[in-house]
Amino acid sequence: MSAPAVFFYAFGAAAVISALAMVLNVRNTVAAAMSLVVTMISLAVVYVVLDAHLVAALQIMVYAGAIVVVFLFVVMLLNLRHDAFAQRRERLVKGAGVVLALGAAFAFLNLVPKSLPTVQQIPADFGSYAAVGRALYRDFVLPFEISSLLLLAAIVGAVVLAKRRLS
């Protein structure tokens, strides 16, 4: 097994384990947020193995650096007590989970592998900053500009919502 494959499987497993730790941790929300950081950083390593270098850098900067920090701020600001799983719907959730898991496993083992394309030889600069930047500023410049509008709306919305009182 080559070195990139080792990294892929090791950090993929780390991402899944820390994701489970986040979802199953009912005592401590801060610890759940830290598990989310581990998931994000493991996924960044997986992106590097899959030749998505710009995406990996943004994953660390935006997700692990900004989004999870905002989560931690809010958790500490609100000083939360422990929370539990939904009590009354446990049986429904379990039944639906079993059915969905069996269906998904069946689909994945039987249908998906036949329909997937085989990975071709990719050029050396695939997913580099230059290649993604070229696509972003030539073919996708309008969505790029519109996303700045979305972020502006989100900033204004967050300030309005979290402000104590509007005068």
């Binding site: 979802v23 998505a52 929370d83 719907r89 990975v119």
Partner: protein, 101 residues
């Protein structure tokens, strides 16, 4: 090219499933938002895997857009959580039934 696409899609499906379970079963609004982030990350991983399989960088652009939307969603969502906590002293979704008939 050691890693087959099936394994990338499998990992992405696993992360998406874990996020779905968290969003459906947890009652803490903040943890539900975190689980939604996990689902978005599963989708991102699928985009990256398919981009490599088809030798096209467009999938990476989609991932950038998803990251932008996720950041906006977290900012507004946590603003709502703070406003809610100020009014109700709780972030349990069972306490928030204003729109339920």
């Amino acid at each position: 090219m050691a890693i087959p696409l099936e394994h990338v899609i499998g990992l992405s499906a696993l992360l998406f499933a874990i996020g779905t379970v968290g969003a459906l079963t947890r009652r803490n609004l903040i943890v539900i938002l975190m689980s939604i982030e996990l689902m978005l990350n599963g989708a991102n991983l699928a985009f990256v895997g398919f981009a490599r399989a088809w030798n096209s960088v467009d999938g990476h652009i989609f991932v950038l857009m998803v990251i932008v939307v996720a950041a906006a969603e977290v900012a507004v969502g946590l603003g709502i959580v703070i406003a809610l906590f100020r009014n109700r002293e709780s972030v349990n979704v069972e306490d928030v039934s204003l729109l339920r008939w």
